[in-house]
């Protein structure tokens, strides 16, 4: 039975047993133990509704989109464009022209870097990011700086892993053309005051790109209420397949940007002398897109809204509080990232035990966590650590999972004791 309640009723509390039944992989055993999956920040698991939607599309509706008058091509186009409308509603964009399907957050950021920033930035222009960014929100800007002579500036963290607003504001200046920052830090769980930061950027005439990969699965995101110019996220962190993601951009900005990749579907006419480009959003979708991925993404959005974003956020916050309290009780553990406002991501180190060893021992107990630098080396450098272990929670995690994590950590302490 699916956990989706009937339309219009959104329970304040998740029926967690029903939610767990919606994710078949959670019944897996690992090394003879029940799986405790605490790595949703790296990639979440798929809901049955998503798996079924993809299967149904591949079984009954697949052909290429936007190319042909036969029945299946029209069915596929309807499914793909229907998914775009579903995404628009999920993040409350004004128009489907503002929804570009991409491979994931990384591609969304690279698209803006290469199509918005590269053609217009000059030496002396500034791009502002923060100290907690994922490599995907650092490297594309470094590349643009190399290409244009623009300068990359970084708003520094404090010891709690927050970006103090005053520091962010200090880094803004008359030459700031673009700010790019995470809505939620993947390495630390810090939630940034996005709306306020965007307002500050706009006050300096800069546009704002938000990396929403870690935010969209966990709370309601309204791109217009936030005032975001660009907002990008990945399907596979929100219970949908890999290889599909979304770049939202304000229509006015996208319309003024040149295409990034050339190919089929992004053109109106092609001759050897001159090509005219297609309208939005097709202008940015060269080649056959990930149609089944988009269908799966739409199904994941139906599923999440069925559960209720508020109920999900409340459930995950309870787990975060419980896990934080449990880990704080173990003197050999240190929590990295103690921001006042956090999502359900818990990074930590154990005294005398490298994160990699911790990950192996936890795995032997069936507990899956991420270990390493979490694609955020500058965060690790800031805290003077080579690596941390990271437990991250999704809608399907339980208090029992927290219990299994703490017992596994005790086991690790024994092995290295």
């Amino acid at each position: 039975m699916a956990a989706n309640p009937s339309l219009g009723t959104k329970p304040a509390v998740l029926d967690i047993e029903a939610v767990r039944r919606d994710f078949p992989i959670l019944a897996t055993s690992v090394h003879g133990r029940p799986l405790t999956y605490l790595d949703s920040a790296a990639s979440s698991q798929r809901a049955l509704a998503v798996i079924r939607a993809v299967e149904n599309y591949e079984t009954h509706s697949h052909a290429n989109v936007h190319r042909g008058v036969h029945a299946l091509s029209q069915a596929a186009t309807a499914a793909f464009e229907g998914a775009r409308e579903r995404v628009r509603r999920f993040i409350n964009a004004a128009s489907v022209k503002e929804i570009i399907f991409v491979r994931g957050t990384t591609e969304g950021i690279n698209l803006v870097a290469q199509s918005y920033a590269r053609p217009r930035f000059c030496p002396g222009d500034e791009i502002l990011i923060t100290g907690l960014e994922h490599h995907a929100n650092i490297v594309p800007w470094q590349m643009v700086c190399e290409q244009t002579g623009a300068t990359l500036r970084v708003a520094r963290l404090n010891r709690r892993g927050e970006v103090p607003f005053e520091e962010f504001q200090r880094q803004l200046g008359p030459r700031t053309r673009l700010v790019a920052f995470a809505h939620v830090s993947n390495a630390l769980g810090t939630v940034l005051p996005v709306k306020r930061m965007i307002e500050a950027a706009h006050a300096h005439g800069a546009v704002a790109l938000i990396d929403g990969a870690q935010a969209v699965p966990h709370s309601q995101v309204d791109v217009r209420a936030l005032g975001a110019d660009f907002y990008t996220f990945s399907g596979h962190k929100m219970y949908a397949p890999t290889g599909i993601g979304v770049l939202y951009g304000r229509e006015e900005l996208l319309a003024a940007m040149p295409p990034w990749q050339g190919g089929g579907d992004m053109i109106l006419t092609v001759s050897f002398e001159k090509t005219t480009y297609n309208e939005l959003p097709a202008k940015f979708e060269a080649g056959t897109p990930n149609i089944s991925g988009a269908v799966g993404l739409a199904a994941a959005m139906d599923y999440l809204e069925g559960l209720g974003m508020e109920a999900i956020a409340a459930h995950e916050q309870r787990l975060l509080e419980l896990a934080t309290a449990e880990l704080a009780r173990m003197p050999e553990l240190e929590i990295v990232g103690t921001a006042a406002h956090k999502a359900a991501v818990l990074s930590f180190t154990m005294k005398g035990v490298h994160a990699h060893d911790l990950g192996t021992i936890l795995d032997a107990e069936g507990v899956a966590v991420r270990t390493g630098h979490h694609c955020a080396m500058p965060v690790m450098t800031f805290f003077g650590l080579p690596a941390t272990a990271r437990a991250s929670f999704g809608c399907y995690n339980t208090e029992e999972d927290v219990g299994r994590l703490t017992s596994a950590l005790k086991r690790a302490h024994e092995v290295f004791g």
Binding site: H31, G32, G352, V353, H354, A355, H356, D357, T360, I361, A364, T371, G372, H373, M377, M380, P386, A387, V415, F416
Partner: protein
């Protein structure tokens, strides 16, 4: 899955008390090894006399497997010539990647790392120091510091 096979007492001991750890005075060759998966860095410095490793030390921070592997390696290769080091490298490579079979007796204490092959994600941790040693041996000799 037996954690005791991976974290044998020898490994835990070398992790807690790494041998030949720290900078080497008057090094002739060095190389840095990086494991981008975990962010581990290893700096290997050695002094060659003719064809022979007269002294070798390592620095850096890593997991128990990579620290113990580097520590055991420095003990094993000190005093050996390039050809013998090459042989040991081949034997280590076989130990870490071949599915089973008894460890080559010529490996001595290095055989303690045989449990790693059951943990494919960790093989790189154990082999990082050996690849770094290869890089150091082909690096151009550093000017000997007189300070």
């Amino acid at each position: 899955m037996d954690l005791k096979e991976l974290y044998r007492d020898v490994i835990l001991d070398h992790n807690r008390h790494p041998r030949n750890f720290g900078p080497l005075e008057g090094a002739s060759h060095h190389a840095e090894g990086n494991n981008p998966l975990c962010g581990d860095r290893l700096l290997l410095t050695l002094r060659l006399k003719g064809d022979r490793i007269e002294d070798i030390r390592f620095e850096g921070r890593g997991c128990a497997i990579s620290t113990a592997s580097a520590s055991l390696m420095t003990e094993a290769v000190k005093g050996k010539d390039r050809a013998s080091v090459r042989q040991l490298f081949e034997r280590m490579h076989a130990l870490l990647t071949q599915p089973d079979g008894a460890p080559d007796p010529a490996l001595g204490k290095l055989a303690a790392l045989s449990g790693v092959r059951e943990f494919p994600a960790r093989v790189k941790c154990a082999s990082l120091c050996w690849h770094t040693l290869n890089a150091a041996l082909v690096s151009s000799p550093a000017a000997v510091s007189t300070e």
